[in-house]
């Protein structure tokens, strides 16, 4: 096959297709979204493999797990915080007898380009005691995804592929290999290996612990963990992990010598190779994207035999993304001569709600509804509407994790802080807001939930929600919310005064109320209009 230009995310998707993937599942989340978007486009053109959006990362993971039990290869993709949602199936699937290859692709977002934290998924792989692969290039992303399926079947574990934003969202040419066929359906013949009753789970846990030696042997011998010991320049050795290798390579030719170097692309950390490097040099610099995962292992609790430089020593910043320039400074190279900043004040240009966004009309109505109330609290959630925290809206007071607005409004109300209003998007509600609303309905909590329904998953590029918008009201009523306090309103500025009056009435009601504010995202509406126009245009 000829070279193709792919994002890191897309290289993962193509690698999975060529590995004989049967099905892929995900909930959209930056920077992982393009993996399953690619697979969905591929399915539309070629029919297979199956690729679908799921309600959330946990349901996505469990669907993938079922594919594995049926003996076929499956992939589940998510952003780093999505793995928190899927942590239950993830941690427990490490103990089951994985049958068809199961690959978990997690895209971390160091620097928080579009996330609320910068957690490092390598810790999760370590926590689950499984193998983790960390590509440094788009080609690696393609090849490691393929290999991850083989490793999953060889070791009978899920294998985690860790991406970071700069690889997920960077394009380069990839040389693909051959495509292998899908496995036929072939049910696991070890039901006890899938039934984690305590008696079975103890056996499976011991088996996983026994396999640790196999994982370590794999990592020591692995081509993804090359060690080069040089006799010149023993004053410094370098350990790179993942894309940090690229920033190291970018600066290497300017060093007066080539340091001995261990690159880590496969975990568990190859301890013998680390010891060989450390025994060969007088100091070691650890370059890794995310948390100081490898560095902290080297540092340990007791003094290491040689100085260890990295994020914990201050050689590199403890937070944010690596850059070629930060790595350059850590290597002791002077800054490149460049152009000075222009000196003028350059105000930042933060993201903002689009002109005409229905959320803006909802915030206007909510502001009027809350006018004159002494101490209201407005919890909110993950999505475009989180921008309502910024001026000119200043409409919301929290944004923590998917669905938290619902439970937090109930908790604030339980504590006596009223009125409590939660603002959640339609897709975030379906992802993780339904169960806390069930809690609120069970106790008729004194709170109002505003579901801002723009009929799409807007922030990640307009993916369809898992249920059509018309079903939302039925879901809310089905949870037992009093129908007299469930309203569906159009989020449009021509209705702002009337919408504010309904919101005010429900905010003053001492019990649970849900107001669904509906209007399609202007961005998806515009895209649909453009697509229609293009279809009508004469062919080029």
């Amino acid at each position: 096959m000829a070279d193709v230009v792919l994002l890191g995310d897309e290289a993962v998707a193509l690698g999975a297709i060529h590995a004989g993937l049967t099905a892929a599942y995900a909930y959209p989340g930056t920077p992982s979204t393009e993996i399953v978007e690619y697979l969905i486009r591929h399915q539309a053109q070629h029919g297979r493999p199956l690729a679908t959006w799921a309600a959330n990362e946990k349901t996505a993971y469990e669907e993938a797990l079922g594919v594995s039990m049926a003996g076929r290869r499956s992939l589940v993709a998510m952003k780093h915080v999505g793995l928190n949602v899927a942590a239950d199936p993830f941690m427990n699937s490490a103990l089951v007898e994985i049958h068809g290859g199961l690959v978990v692709v997690v895209a971390d977002d160091p620097g928080m380009h579009s996330s609320q934290n910068e957690q490092d998924s390598r810790y999760f792989a370590d926590y689950a005691r499984i193998v983790c692969l960390e590509p440094a290039t788009q080609q690696d992303a393609y090849e490691m995804t393929r290999e991850a399926f083989d490793l999953s079947e060889r070791f009978h574990i899920p294998v985690l592929v860790r991406l970071v934003t700069r690889l997920a969202h960077s394009r380069a040419a990839v040389q693909p290999g051959d495509r292998r066929p899908e496995h036929p359906v072939g049910k696991s013949q070890l039901p006890q290996g899938w039934t984690l009753l305590p008696s079975n789970a103890r056996i499976q846990w011991r088996r996983l612990l026994e396999r640790q030696q196999d994982f370590r042997s794999y990592a020591e011998a692995c081509v993804h963990n090359p060690l080069v010991l040089n006799d010149r320049g023993r004053e410094l050795g370098v350990i790179t992990a993942g894309i940090a290798r690229n920033y190291y390579a970018e600066n290497l030719e300017e060093l007066s010598f080539e340091p001995s170097h261990l690159h880590i692309g496969a975990y568990p950390v190859p301890a013998a190779k680390v010891r060989a490097l450390v025994g060969h040099v007088q100091a070691v610099l650890v370059l890794e994207e995310g948390y100081p995962f490898v560095e902290r292992m080297l540092r340990g609790l007791l003094a290491p035999p040689i100085p260890v430089h990295g994020k914990e020593s201050g050689a590199l910043p403890a937070d944010g993304e690596l850059t070629p320039d930060l790595v350059r400074a850590a290597l002791g190279l002077p800054a490149r001569p460049g152009r000075a900043a222009c000196g003028l004040p350059l105000p930042p240009r933060p993201p903002q709600l689009c002109a005409g966004c229905p959320h803006a009309d909802t915030f206007d109505a909510l502001r009027i509804a809350l006018d004159g109330i002494a101490q209201p609290v407005v919890t909110s959630d993950i999505g475009c509407y989180a921008l309502g925290a910024l001026p000119p809206y200043n409409a919301i007071e929290s944004c923590v994790c998917m669905g938290a607005s619902v439970g937090m409004a109930k908790g604030a109300s339980d504590a006596g802080l009223r009125p409590a209003v939660g603002v959640v998007g339609d897709s975030t509600f379906l992802h993780s807001g339904v169960t806390p609303l069930m809690d609120a309905a069970a106790s008729d909590a004194d709170m109002t939930l505003v579901i801002v329904d723009n009929e799409t998953i807007a922030m990640t590029g307009g993916q369809p929600t898992v249920l059509p918008p018309s079903r939302l009201e039925g879901v809310v009523r089905g949870l037992g919310v009093d129908p007299a306090h469930v309203h569906v309103l159009e989020a449009h500025h021509r209705h702002t005064a009337a919408n504010a009056a309904v919101l005010r009435r429900e905010i003053e009601h001492h019990g649970l109320s849900v107001v669904i504010m509906v209007r399609e995202c202007i961005e998806t509406a515009a895209i649909r209009a453009r697509d229609r126009k293009a279809k009508d245009a004469p062919p080029a």
């Binding site: 930056t30 979204t33 460049g338 350059l346 245009a537």
Partner: protein, 190 residues
Amino acid sequence: MKYDIILAGVGGQGVLSAGTIIASSAMHEGLAVKQSEVHGMSQRGGEVLAHLRLADAPVASDLIPLGAASMILSMEPLESLRYLEYLSPQGAIVASADPVRNIPDYPDLAGLLAAIRGVPGAVLVESGRLARESGSARATNMVMVGAASHRVPVSVETLEHFIESLFRPKGARVVETNLRAFRAGRGASA
């Protein structure tokens, strides 16, 4: 040969499409290419930055080091200055002179344009007018690709070929508009 381009602008201006045209053209002409983009929240009307790296040998880092860029290609004047420290001492700025004022504290435009002109060889383009004259205000990005085309190490024919193939799914009229915009930008910066 290395040619690093900082692509800048405001979300919705087509910064990434401009990058795609240059990147596809460079690949077609046998260069190694890496293009790092921003997606998600960082795109909504906020500042957009993409790193495009072209070279005749494999490219290591997806990000351009400070002081290494051969060009800042910006769809907007304020945004072109935000990344000045990426520019090498020999590097060029090719920027639109038309501001996107979607923030309350947008600086004095004359000062911004003077700072851009202060960079030797700076090219300022009236991209809004040229795009409208070409048939669509949305074609600003192709005006700017045209303005950059004198310097980027790929041929005009290849760039035009990839403009055609990018816009072909949107119909013949859109292709023509964007080619006109490209040529207008090229003409204005000759």
